[in-house]
Symmetry: C2
Subunit: 794 residues, 2 copies
Amino acid sequence: MDASTSPHDDASEVLLPQRSSLAEQLLSQRSIHLSRSSPNNTSQVAIIGSNLCPIESLDFELIENDLFNQNWRSRGKAHKYRYVVLKWTFCLLIGVLVAAVGFFNNLAVENITGFKFLSLSKLMEAERYWTAFGVFAGSNLLLLLFASAITSFISPAAGGSGIPEVKAYLNGVDAPNIFTLKTLFVKILGNITAVSSSLHVGKAGPMVHIGACIASIFGQGGSQKYHLTCDWLRYFKNDRDRRDLVTIGASAGIAAGFRAPVGGVLLAVESLSSWWRSALLWRSFFATAVVAVVLRVLIGVCDSGQCGLFGKGGLIMYDVTNDTTTYQLADLPIVILLGIIGGVLGSLYNFLMLKVLRIYGYINEKSHAHKLLLTSAVSILISCFLYWLPWIASCRPCPSTSNGDCLSTNRFRQFQCPKNYYNDLASLFLNTHDNAIRNLYSTGTNDFYHPLSLLLFFVSSYIFGILSYGVVAPFGLFVPIILTGATYGRFVAILLGSYTELDHGLVAILGSASFLGGTMRMTVSVCVIIIELTNNLLLLPLVMLVLLVSKTVADSFNGNIYDMILQLKGLPYLEGHAEPYMRQLTVSDVLSGPLHSFNGVEKVGNIVHTLRSTRHHAFPVIDEPPFSPSPVLYGLILRSHLLVVLKKKAFVPTNSLSGHEKASKIFVASDFDKRGSGKHDTIDDVNITPEEMEMFVDLHPFTNTSPYTVVETMSLAKALTLFREVGLRHMLVVPKSSDRAPVVGILTRHDFLPEHILGLHPFLVRSHWKRLRWNRSTVTKYFRSFITWLACSG
Amino acid sequence: MDASTSPHDDASEVLLPQRSSLAEQLLSQRSIHLSRSSPNNTSQVAIIGSNLCPIESLDFELIENDLFNQNWRSRGKAHKYRYVVLKWTFCLLIGVLVAAVGFFNNLAVENITGFKFLSLSKLMEAERYWTAFGVFAGSNLLLLLFASAITSFISPAAGGSGIPEVKAYLNGVDAPNIFTLKTLFVKILGNITAVSSSLHVGKAGPMVHIGACIASIFGQGGSQKYHLTCDWLRYFKNDRDRRDLVTIGASAGIAAGFRAPVGGVLLAVESLSSWWRSALLWRSFFATAVVAVVLRVLIGVCDSGQCGLFGKGGLIMYDVTNDTTTYQLADLPIVILLGIIGGVLGSLYNFLMLKVLRIYGYINEKSHAHKLLLTSAVSILISCFLYWLPWIASCRPCPSTSNGDCLSTNRFRQFQCPKNYYNDLASLFLNTHDNAIRNLYSTGTNDFYHPLSLLLFFVSSYIFGILSYGVVAPFGLFVPIILTGATYGRFVAILLGSYTELDHGLVAILGSASFLGGTMRMTVSVCVIIIELTNNLLLLPLVMLVLLVSKTVADSFNGNIYDMILQLKGLPYLEGHAEPYMRQLTVSDVLSGPLHSFNGVEKVGNIVHTLRSTRHHAFPVIDEPPFSPSPVLYGLILRSHLLVVLKKKAFVPTNSLSGHEKASKIFVASDFDKRGSGKHDTIDDVNITPEEMEMFVDLHPFTNTSPYTVVETMSLAKALTLFREVGLRHMLVVPKSSDRAPVVGILTRHDFLPEHILGLHPFLVRSHWKRLRWNRSTVTKYFRSFITWLACSG
């Protein structure tokens, strides 16, 4: 039954005398090779949302067993039309629902925060400053505690932005509960309350998760619990179609979050999805177009003033279209400077964010009480700063352009100032993030803000952003990053003074772009989102340039924020490109055993024992005499399919072929449909009597006869290319010479993870075949010398 | 030496009793199976530009032989930095050069046509109408003949838009001369003159080819002929890096053609490239950003009036940004109507275009004289219509908004009219295409055009577009399609009259979008290009919707224009998705023999004989006793590498391993670099003496030890997925049972082509496992009944 893994058989060594130095090093690591019969011990759990969960790989391969083939052949044209119609209907529904949720989110946040700030203003006018602070801090605390509590107690998977989880799902990592109805509701409610609590968090990121949730629920194939099943929905009960739906949902989510339909599609292409097809581009484009149309209609409804404090507006969030954009070649250095600043600040932001997330992680791990305590502490701290910092700022008279009444626009804050005066710091601090961004982006307002106010706001929003994200509640990163970037953009513009004639509002937009580039490292999508947010196409070349510079600078320090969070969460994300050292290894160098395989006709007892004693999700099926002249690989059978076979007890008393006819009588293809995320049977759900244990089962009809295979001598880099490009879960390794067992091992996602490979071959860690990047020590060194230089020159 | 292909060996038949009906059908086609030892006879030539050329597949796989591995290991950090720096420098240079060429193209076209129309106006004012016609038609004829002559005689590969060729190249089909310096010059010059000749052709499509050419020349690794070689450039001497460069060049080309940097990248993603990576997105984005900046600078230079008749302008080609866009929900039916019209007209356009291209093809095949005669006929015909049709239109007074002097803008034509009057038809016909589009897109001009003028212009530009494209000269399709679409958009708007308050200019934009969607079937990229052309982001939802409708409608009739042209040209384009019937076949069902393989140590005479007698580009290398206990697949060796080995005569007198050390003394890795397109040795370039013929050569160091393999029983659909996703040129098929030769065949691109498969298994043609599409007979039927209905009701 077991085929042992012998990585370097003699034959191949004779043939490979030239695999010189590396092979020697490998062989000298005998101790590692001896431990290779131990299973791959990379982690099978990860932090999903805010809790540790078991994770599983998704299977994007078509399982072409005989039952599937028969079923597939029997599908007529009607089935195919039905499938196509359903796909497009789902896209339409996803678009409508995501747009509605996005609009409702906005409406709720605007109304809650609007009401909060209205009460605050009234109390300030009455000069009841301490009461005002109490109301402000109290309501913030309550809102955030509510968000945190529902996340902790009802659905921990809803915590955070959800983008890392969606990204991992689209890469092939599944976790229970990330896409359930419960998660969806907690995400929506929690996000509204958390964003309304004046924490430095955004509402765009969670829209990705919300979109993905809605889409995934469509792909569940109905619900047996609520008797909502339908034969039509069966077509989507596989990971491939679900992946497509989730991709579309995520695009729609971003499109609704930023009202940026093209940007949504691009973000999904550029940084969320790991596989992409032209057909998918078209469908997600349709979904985001629907989002745009629905949002426009809903916003039109609100223009009549029936939406409370939501206010009027168009599809463009931060419209600067009325302003003529002029820039000269002489402005290029400024753009490059902004890019460099954005890159440095962005990579530092990522670095600090990771540190803070680690510390928060330790606290959050302990208990629910710790989580809520941390939440309260952060909320109170930030509320204090938000309320008391603006007192430092001096009052400024309303600009003449607004006819002395600058406060009616609801974007400037009077705070403690006399009538017709405004407090610039309060206008940024005590405002919705959207209004603060509008303030900073607005053109023709070069002298509205004192440089020190901007500096203070920049420093605090930089720190608040880092401090806020680790709190257990559903919220995102985009908006705080856009806001912080806009602030230093304006600050830089003021510092440059008369050197440039660029409008400060435009420099603020470039600042946002550079900071987004420095933290998230996306290019095309962020560029299009910025353009769709501001509706000023003439900015395009500048935004492109600033993004490129900031990404380049930041990439030389560390990775993008979402990848760092992915790693921190322990999600086994599989990169598309091979690490350079993988080219020096062969597939057999990373194989870990032992391998369990089944005969074509196998004893029930053996199957049950193997399923009980291992956690493998697939097993090779090997035909041995008398069914074939010599041992031959027949295919690969999945654990889930074996469980179905065991449950229906398709057994025969003797070791003989029962064949396809019998199987097709007992089973229908839908028995083998992949069930929804987190729902699967275990071997303990199957009751087998001792008599049945001695019976046999013919596995041929249930075996995938076309698994992808590689030869054991294939280079690991090329095997990874196959594994990743085709989207596999299991890849069979066959021996080079024919005199051995027909399969020598199975490769899974975990076998390609750098921590596994570098654990097996530790000398590779020190090798020079690594990616070009400044490592942490270099960065620390440079930072230290920079600080020393500052101290000396200061 | 030969391993015969036996598709259904007995062992597998015992194991597959269930592969019932289809297997029987397959087996009943014995006659086909008997013919399977004949080679795959799909065509190895295709029409490139305007001439028949031999084609070859590209190899995107890394050839991991020992020499490569050794060389790769020896590369230090300095090499990698150099490679990265070079890659980015190339992007920068591509951006600058493509922008410069794009700008120069525009400048030249505007000046030549401007001068032409200026002379025309002067002669018209002097009432010398026949002279005017003579000058007009004569200059058109001369310009077009020049373009046609240089294309025919100097570089036929430069003919047409070049987009199909670039698309095929990025799919892995190489043709000689498509990316040479000569082609580049002919393309630039020919395009300028052809567009200036008032033919109904565009200048955006050729920019893709020009961009790809420029990029590919960077990837040639210098030129030995002109002694421009450099060790640094070696890194790009492989198909992978060249593919990346060409993709970037094509993006830059579109970006320069439409001044649409984001649209350029998206078009490359959506419809040009077959493989895409995030890193590539970033680099092409950089190149297009450079294009935008350079274009802006160059346009800025022209604003001072030093560019002749080029005129002033911004980065936006057809700016409608100043106009407030208002639309209601009630306008949605109009958008959908436009979409449907666009879809029907677009698919009909494709259909007619194909017919005309076929007819032109017959004529062009005959001789150069025939080509030039056809060119002249088309040019004279179109010139006649362009000049004489506007006489039908009545003169219209200049609108009051232009203060009575509508002709000073250079966009309206006085033609035969009195002063302060304009001829609306002449303003469209006798104008540059850019100006005509600007006329149609301009808002607030609802009553500038007589409906009949629009209808006449629409019909003629629809027909002219179809008639023009097949002429042998370098030009594109985008601009005529945009223009034709805009015309019927405006016409529809006039017909709707007071039903809608949509501005006619905006409806014209939607018309362009719908016609682009109906012919080219792109969605996201066309949408972004339209937005970047017009700078009106508020149109986005409408443009998205109209594109979706028109693409859906058109897709139900036929394929997109470029794919149809690809097929017409005979380019073996490999689709990314498997056809449904491929799931019913196994790999062995399409294998065609005979297979030629080599021993690990092979006699020189055998190699020479095999290379002479076959046209295969790769051969399996099999180790047989005494070098291994049983026959074992060692790897795959390329014909080009064999030729290098033969040329350097690395022979040994006896049948023994000479090993890696000897090889590394004689060869350096650069010997095996892939040379530029079209440059390769043949076996006839190698001189081997009869004594040498009896010697041996050790093929091990030159063999790719990690070729991708599939088992013969794998389903064809899954094999295609692997072949296409990984980007292979050769895929080895290994037997299922171990008692046979270690390789049973090699699959190449041609084995996956539908014409090959359906040729082998003709019954599949009638099967119901086909894609959902109306076939030609259905369409013809519907068209006939529609025409009958028209005739009856008329």
